[in-house]
Point group: C2
DNA sequence: TAGATTGTTAATCGATTAACAATC
DNA sequence: TAGATTGTTAATCGATTAACAATC
């Protein structure tokens, strides 16, 4: 984006800001775009791994199976990251996407429920890749309390509130049985955390806490697969 | 839907079918609708659990936080499941949604990779709820081969092809390390299976096999959470 | 400069919502 | 019958794609 254009844009934003009447106006980014950002993150890492330093929207669109137009449109929600005639600098773009997604914000996280799912998550490189630090797990089973899983120790669930403060935990990952989700949710709503990644399948009532919740329903994905497979089998049959 | 209307609809479909020139014409259901079906499935189970026998689109919309209009629109993609002045019969609607999603199709599934993630999935009630039968796991580690996990036994990965035929396995769930995903994918592309639920994060090249693949990128969900949390923290700061 | 490719606007497409006649 | 609520059409909204001027 040219300097002139950028200034014009900022001026029009300033106008908008006054109209809307609040200080922190930021043109809202559509949910559709936000949901695609993690995909850009993944493909950019792939490009870096491959040693690519430069990529055009056309190339990236081929890799990702989307239109080049969409890529340019998406990225421009956050600013002009590319350069006409050249494309995008992979490292710079990656840095920007990371900034936007809060990678490197250095979030501290804890896992409640040190069963198979909790262990699988903590044992994966997922958190490290995204700059999230898992600093503790919690469980009720004496068999696991005190053990180390991945990079973190398992504490007694009764110490939850205390340890959240002690470690400065910002994000809690719920991988405990559905039956106890509500109770832990209640306790968390009174803690100074900012986000919950909820695998329990139970809707959490967190009142006015302002905690951001991301619910994961992994079974939904299985059902989509079953739907597609059922469709395929049906149409295969009809062809005969 | 009245009988007259239904006949008119079928007649117009017949016309469309001729135009399109293929036998198995079925008005395509939009991806947006399909992605919502599993949610309907979940909420209908919840209603059944609560002992409700009847529900209106207005009630359901309140529960699910969507518009009643959308619910009626969605359900009508598959036929008139409700009744004017009454609403929807919960059990009937549930049965229909299950039919559409292939629940009770009796899919047989196997898990490749009997680690924490594989164990967590097999140990959950997810498959049973959706009428999917996990009949086997596969792994390379002698420490787990021969053991029973959940309802199924762990076999040596070398027996994969053989057991797929023996058990009539239709869906394979990949929870093995990324590094071996490609190799197993290649082997599976030659097997008579219909679907792969892929947790490896590796894009699978299955050629012309016609196997349906559902890729799960659980980390994307974590990033969305981080984005929201980062947004919240930023705007909280600005308020000060 | 000529070629390439972005940023951005306008056009298209699809999905959601509103409204209401049909009908239980 | 009167009231309720669907099924369905039309209106709105948002997201994607196409096109091209700007510019590196």
């Amino acid at each position: 984006m040219s300097t002139k254009k950028r200034i014009e844009k900022e001026e029009s934003l300033e106008l908008l800001r006054r109209e809307v009447g609040r200080d922190s106006f930021r043109p809202e980014v559509s949910p559709a775009v936000i949901k695609r950002l993690p995909r850009y993150f993944r493909y950019l890492r792939e490009l870096i791994r491959m040693g690519k330093t430069r990529v055009s929207s056309a190339e990236l669109s081929k890799m990702m199976n989307v239109t080049a137009s969409q890529i340019r449109q998406d990225l421009n929600c956050f600013g002009g990251f590319g350069q006409q005639g050249y494309g995008y600098n992979v490292n710079y773009l990656y840095t920007k996407i990371c900034e936007i997604l809060g990678v490197g914000f250095g979030f501290r996280a804890a896992v409640v429920g040190a069963g198979n799912l909790g262990s699988a998550l903590v044992g994966s490189p997922m958190f490290e890749k995204r700059g999230v630090d898992v600093v503790a797990l919690f469980d009720v089973s004496p068999a696991v309390i005190g053990k180390k899983i991945g990079p973190a120790r398992v504490y007694d669930l009764s110490e939850l509130e205390e340890k959240i403060k002690e470690f400065g935990i910002e994000i809690v990952i719920l991988t405990l049985p559905k039956e106890h989700a509500e109770e832990v949710g209640m306790r968390l709503s009174a803690c100074p955390i900012h986000g919950i990644w909820n695998f329990t399948g139970k809707e959490l009532a967190l009142g006015e806490s302002g905690i951001v919740v991301e619910n994961v329903h992994i079974g939904d994905s299985l059902m989509t697969l079953c739907y597609e497979v059922a469709q395929k089998l049906t149409s295969d049959n009809e062809k005969k």
